[in-house]
């Protein structure tokens, strides 16, 4: 398998600000290869550095040390092949929902309304094209962001908790839709989630980051058959085994990160 | 109608005439050659001898001086002689207390490139003429001069405001105007720099007689102030009149005061200006002069009331005027 993204020796230190806060190392010597066409999930305790790592891969934050290679080439700054769905709400508030989804298409000089409408429909937001972001609920805005990423159709998808704000059922429906697209196109995906179940049902590999400082703790391959049906995957015996394995590791990390001694 | 405001304002500045101590008097001036005798009186101790401490407040334009004088923030204003007539028309009472120079001290100059002959006002037909400010005595004098030469100031020329002294020269330099009427040092400076040439210089006795005395620099105060501070006003007039006399006798003291005012100006230039103007330093305002002011204002339509010499001139200081002779 070809390595698509190679993360080598990445370290990120944030300097103490305003004199009082302490300088701390968030990521420490991260080495990780992401293969072409792989669906790789990042999990870890809250605040362990998942978003920071994604930002570094996307070229938005300069690491204190280490290098990112894409297709064997060293990259600095933003890579045009990457699409990034932020953890934060980053819709442009002055554009309507439709215009927001159209934006990447316009950039690519391929401003086809049908494409945007298709993805909006897919995330269940038919009829909200002409609303402004402020008129949508939190979960709806997240779905627009997803539609925008899909419309952009980049070679590599970086996704930071894309389904985090959705109710259990909506999440399931959208995951299923997303998986269908992915299984057809097999793009490289780095997927940050805090939902273990989601990580297992979707991924090829799950990377658990440790906390303070963030290091690659374990890498767990998920060898469930594809194409996957989510409900089937969850009822698979292997699923439970994987869940318990990773859960144990995560638990340990969280205990450390929350400084629970007992 | 405005008496109440005035008297209340005046309480602050008008000192009791009986006080034997040094009395402070505030003069509002625009820093210009027109009002030089007031500075000379200060620099040569004439005020001091009268027990007066003079303070000078400098204004950008004559209208502001008059406003301040009416409002009471200064005691005397040094500006042009037609002001009391204009004010009388508007129901305000102020008078010329003395003349600072008894003739129109303005010069009409034209851009050097035009090659106009001295005295040829008619040649300005169709040209642009600049004055510092519209609506004042300078503007009126220019119009009177043009009318005298048979030109209609509204139709035959265009009269343009150019603002501050230096602006008129700049406007000629950039050919934005063709001629300009103004006071020293702008006119001499323009000539010195080869930018402009004199057309009519009233100080040399050029130009029509009626225009020569229609607007000249005077010291003014409002009626209320004069009434309440008659003794003090006498002292002021006396001091300045003595200074005028000294200036006529020894133009160098005028040059010295001008030098303090305008530090960078060339000595020779100042001397030549003083030579030209020294004959004009007389304090007296005659009935003829007042008549010529009133007549000119009536012609221009700014005054409609019937005014006499005494309405615009504080004749009670005749005795003090003589000090300048």
């Amino acid at each position: 398998m070809k390595v698509k993204i190679s993360i080598q020796g990445i370290e990120k230190k944030f300097e103490a600000q305003n004199g009082v806060g302490k300088s701390h190392t968030v990521l420490d010597n991260i080495d990780l290869d992401i293969f072409e066409g792989e669906f790789c999930s990042l999990i870890g305790a809250s605040g362990c550095g998942k978003s920071t790592l994604l930002n570094i891969v996307a070229g938005l934050i300069t690491p204190s040390d280490g290098t990112i290679y894409v297709d064997g080439e060293r990259v600095k700054g933003i890579h045009p092949k990457f699409g990034y769905m932020f953890q934060k709400d980053t819709l442009l508030p002055w554009l309507t929902i439709l215009d927001n989804v159209m934006l990447p298409l316009e950039i690519q000089k391929n401003a086809k309304r049908e494409i945007a409408l298709h993805y909006l429909d897919m995330v269940g937001l038919k009829g909200f094209e002409n609303h402004f972001p402020k008129e949508l609920s939190g979960g709806m805005r997240k779905r627009v962001q997803l539609a925008r990423l899909l419309a952009q159709n980049p070679e590599v998808l970086l996704m930071d908790e894309p389904f985090g704000a959705l109710d259990a059922q909506t999440k399931l429906v959208i995951q299923e839709e997303f998986l269908k697209i992915w299984e057809k196109e097999r793009k490289t995906v780095i997927f940050v989630t805090h939902d273990l179940q989601e990580a297992i049902t979707l991924s090829d590999r799950i990377v658990l980051l440790s906390a303070k400082p963030g290091r690659v703790q374990t890498i767990t391959p998920v060898d469930l058959p594809r194409p996957r049906m989510l409900e089937h995957a969850m009822n698979n015996a292997k699923f439970n085994q994987l869940f318990m394995d990773i859960w144990g590791g995560l638990k340990e990390e969280v205990r450390k990160s929350l400084q629970i001694v007992s | 109608g405005c008496a109440s405001t005035q008297s209340s304002k005046e309480g602050g500045t008008g000192k009791s005439p009986k006080a034997s101590k040094v009395q402070t008097v505030k003069f509002g001036v625009t820093p210009s050659f027109l009002f030089l005798p007031v500075y000379v009186a200060q620099d040569n101790g004439f005020f001091e001898k009268e027990g007066i401490k003079a303070e000078f407040i400098e204004f950008q334009g004559g209208a502001e001086v008059t406003s301040a004088m009416l409002g009471g923030s200064i005691d005397f204003g040094a500006t042009l002689s037609e002001r009391p007539a204009v004010l009388a028309e508007k129901g305000m009472a102020a008078k010329n207390v003395m003349s600072l120079q008894n003739k129109l001290a303005f010069t009409l100059v034209a851009r050097s490139g035009l090659d106009l002959k001295p005295g040829d006002v008619k040649a300005l037909k169709g040209k642009k003429i600049g004055v510092t400010r519209l609506g004042g005595g300078l503007d009126q004098a220019l119009r009177a001069l043009l009318r005298d030469a048979g030109l209609d100031p509204e139709k035959d020329v265009s009269i343009v405001a150019t603002g501050g002294v230096a602006n008129g020269v700049a406007a000629m330099e950039s050919k934005a105007v063709d001629a300009s009427m103004g006071a020293e040092p702008a006119t001499s400076m323009g000539a010195l720099k080869g930018i402009s040439e004199s057309i009519v210089d009233f100080r040399n006795g050029e130009g029509p007689k009626s225009v020569q005395t229609m607007s000249f620099p005077t010291l003014q105060a409002n009626d209320k102030y004069i009434q309440n501070n008659e003794e003090l006003t006498r002292k002021v007039v006396r001091a300045i009149a003595k200074a005028q006399k000294a200036m006529r006798e020894n133009p160098q003291i005028g040059v010295d005061s001008a030098k303090k005012l305008f530090k960078d100006l060339d000595d020779e230039l100042l001397k030549s200006i003083m030579e030209k103007e020294k004959g004009m330093f007389h304090a007296a305002i005659t009935e003829d002069m007042s008549e010529s002011i009133i007549q000119a204002m009536k012609t221009s339509g700014e005054v409609t009331k019937n005014l006499s010499h005494k309405d615009i001139t504080a004749v009670e200081f005749e005795k003090e005027w003589k000090e300048s002779e």
């Binding site: 990447p104 | 129901g91 503007d139 230096a166 700049a170």
Partner: protein
Amino acid sequence: MPKKEFVEIWGLRGVALFLIIICWQGVLWLDLTTEFWISSPVSIIKKFIEYVLNSELWLHTSVTMIETLLGFIIGTVLGVGFAFVVYRWNWLYVALEPFLTAIYSLPRVALAPLFIMWFGIGILSKVILSVSIVFFILFYNTYSGVKSVDKDLVNNVRTMGGSNSLIVRKVILPWCIPWIFSGMKIGLAMSLIGAVVGEMLAAQHGLGFVLARAAGAFETTGVFTVLLILALLAMLLTSIMERMEKHLLKWRQE
């Protein structure tokens, strides 16, 4: 605007206007000052009507309007544009900053001779005077807006492959709309003042010219009438701007 609200707003404004006029006239009735100083509402309205019927005044008004608008529009475009340029090439701002401050804080009247010499006494010199004020106001405000832009919005559009010019158009400019409009409201009045002061100093036409002439002849009513016309122009232009702003900001949560 709903009709009820409309009536309320104009009711309030009417009351305010009425109070102002009463105070004004009251000061005169109580003999606290005279018409020589502050004229009177009645005289001003009379004079205003006289002016409105006078074609010459329309000429002066249009000259002033042209100068104001030209100065305002050019200054706005340059100021906003320069803020974006400086956003892109920050070293430019770093290098020029003290000089910008220096130039901005020069009292323009002191430079009148140079203005006249270089730009004459026509419309050009007034337009440049206005531009020299409006530019800085718009620049400072837009630049403060640019600095406050949510970096994540910019970054996300950047990851979509958005060029710098697209980011300026689609992200920075809309973000800065409230900043630009606030600058425009401040700048419009300054542009008007700049044009009028320029005309008062040196001109052949324009409301400032009329104003200076009236002031020089102590015609207080004339002065106040011109001021009234200027105020009406400012109100008109400001209300147009506010409408535009409202339209452009309709995406904002009410």
